[in-house]
């Protein structure tokens, strides 16, 4: 009797410990694993656990009343708020309108930044003349926080869409251009020589060797760039906006509607994450050879 209960106890314990033991156990000595590339391995389970634990603590401190809802509203109330605003809208506009407006600003700025930044970055990588001209201004403004030059944007371009899109554009432009510039260096000299030895022109080398081999770096730069775009969104909607997720967050904060603030943040994060997934999918489609040769 005591024997079986002991066994059962062990079983229960091993089941509840299985996650922990999976994380901490000694790995089997598979060839190439013990002394393999550091950092390999699947992290999905661990990431999901982290999210669950964070949500749990969030729920715990609000459910126990340790923190007032004004400072940290409960997770449920965020969901309720989302549904309410989805149904009733916020300051007279539906939630999806706010989302669309913001996404429109970020994506138009992003597309503009790619359309100008990628060719310019490639040109900077290819030509010392163009690099010499454009390197100082880009390196000068790149580390400045967009909030610092937001007033200038408004003084110069007014309080309409132009200054908003331009602000986001500037934050996306630098990383995209610099990524494309660095990508020019990706082609091996042998690949370039091979093209030239077939009688390729400089333009053909650019088109058929430099550009394709720069694609992985360009795509990475685009991913980083759109990230900067979302970061700048709230700043761009600080002044004279009447719609947009950033506007919603800022307005709600003025009325101490903390749950709306958090809800807006989660929505921004969600859209940004979805787009990042899309970019990763594109990456796998466009450059399946990345890092393989």
């Amino acid at each position: 009797m005591s024997n079986t209960s002991n066994e059962n106890e062990q079983k229960i314990q091993s089941a509840s410990n299985s996650l922990l033991s999976k994380l901490t156990r000694e790995r089997p000595t598979l060839p190439g694993e013990t002394y393999g590339v550091p950092g390999s391995g699947n992290t999905v389970l661990l990431s999901l656990t982290t999210i669950a634990i964070l949500l749990f603590f969030w729920w715990l401190i609000t459910a126990m009343g340790w923190v007032k809802p004004l400072f940290v509203p409960s997770p449920q109330s965020i969901v309720v708020k989302f549904l309410n605003i989805w149904r009733d809208g916020f300051t007279g506009s539906a939630l999806w309108v706010h989302i669309l407006i913001s996404a429109g600003r970020v994506f138009s700025a992003f597309l503009l930044a790619c359309a100008i930044g990628i060719p310019l970055g490639l040109a900077m990588g290819m030509s010392p003349l163009i690099r010499g001209i454009f390197d100082p201004p880009i390196e000068f403004y790149r580390p400045i926080p967009p909030l610092a030059y937001l007033p200038l944007m408004i003084i110069w371009f007014g309080i309409g869409e132009t200054s908003k899109v331009l602000l986001i554009f500037l934050s996306v432009f630098a990383p995209v251009a610099l990524g494309a510039r660095a990508g020019v260096r990706s082609a091996a000299i042998e690949q370039i020589h091979a093209a030239y030895s077939f009688g390729a022109t400089r333009w053909q080398v650019l088109r058929h060797v430099i550009l394709p081999s720069a694609m992985p770096e360009i795509l990475t730069a685009m991913r980083i760039g759109i990230g900067f775009g979302w970061t700048t969104l709230v700043a761009a909607e600080m002044v004279a906006a009447t719609k947009g997720i950033g506007y919603m967050v800022l307005t709600a904060s003025q009325f101490l509607q903390t749950s709306v603030v958090i809800m807006g943040i989660v929505v921004i994060a969600g859209i940004a994450y979805l787009f990042d997934l899309l970019m990763r999918m594109i990456e796998r489609k466009v450059v399946p050879w990345k890092g393989k040769m």
């Binding site: 091996a188 042998e190 690949q191 020589h193 091979a194 093209a195 030239y196 030895s197 077939f198 009688g199 390729a200 053909q204 058929h208 060797v209 394709p212 081999s213 694609m215 450059v287 399946p288 050879w289 393989k292 040769m293």
Partner: protein, 261 residues
């Protein structure tokens, strides 16, 4: 086809206050139709510099390279290069890589397919046309590189240690394949290698180079590739007394150079 390297000297300017390096000093060399010239030497002897000169990637500081009566001014489709590695384009599949030169020259899809198809068969790549090149073994990648170089029907094939990254067995098979191709196509070849055995087996002529400054110190006429093409097996060519004798002689020269450093 005739290639003349006339008094070619290459001096790399010194950087960061170091003195300039004389990579090649007064090189004279001829390569006639159907020749298979192999260059060998201790590292730093300038054999890759010499190949880059002939390919046109590099201009000589003094002297000139004459191909069929006119001076080489830059790279061109009459000289194809096979590199040791990193020269295939991973975003193209095997067929597209082989057709790369023809595509750059603006040939139609049908014309490209006809030519590429011939070399795919010749190099044993049938069935792999649509494979990504990064999925191939090193030996097969090198065959793609050779096929690509041959498609544009160059007068001269420049091979820069093409077999250096292959394992020993694949390498011996590739040597035989290249000799057979050389025989069947009648191309002239300039071939660089680190392996004395490979150099002696493949070449009709061997030039031994010495470092600091890079120069040609010895030349040998070689009969061994002909013997192989006449039907003697590769191993028995390489095991014959004449082969071993000249192998030791060349090795002694190169070791003396290495020790002098």
């Amino acid at each position: 086809m005739s290639l003349n390297v006339e008094n070619a000297t290459v001096i790399y300017p010194g950087t960061d206050g170091r003195p300039p390096t004389e990579a090649l000093q007064q090189i004279n060399m001829t390569l006639d139709d159907g020749d298979f010239v192999v260059s060998i030497g201790a590292s730093g002897c300038g054999k890759s510099t010499l190949l880059n000169l002939i390919a046109g990637f590099l201009a000589p500081t003094e002297g000139q390279i004459i191909l069929d009566g006119s001076a080489v001014e830059g790279p061109g489709a009459d000289r194809s290069v096979v590199f040791q590695k990193h020269a295939l384009l991973p975003w193209l599949n095997v067929l597209e890589n082989i057709e790369f030169g023809l595509m750059l020259q603006g040939h139609t899809k049908e014309a490209r397919n006809t030519v590429a198809g011939r070399f795919i068969k010749l190099l044993g790549l049938s069935g792999f046309e649509n494979s990504p090149v990064y999925a191939l073994s090193g030996g097969m990648q090198q065959r793609v590189g050779i096929a690509r170089a041959l498609t544009c029907d160059p007068k001269l094939l420049l091979m820069d240690e093409p077999l250096g990254a292959l394992d020993a067995l694949t390498r011996e098979k590739a040597q035989e394949l290249i000799l057979q191709l050389w025989h069947d196509t009648g191309k002239s070849v300039f071939f660089i290698t680190h392996s004395v055995e490979e150099a002696l087996f493949m070449g009709t002529r061997l030039i031994v180079m010495s470092p600091r400054p890079g120069r040609i110190t010895h030349e040998f006429d070689l009969p061994f590739s002909r013997k192989f093409l006449d039907g003697t097996s590769a191993r028995s060519v390489k095991a014959s007394p004449e082969f071993i004798e000249i192998r030791e002689e060349v090795l002694a020269i190169i070791f003396a150079d290495e020790e002098a450093v």
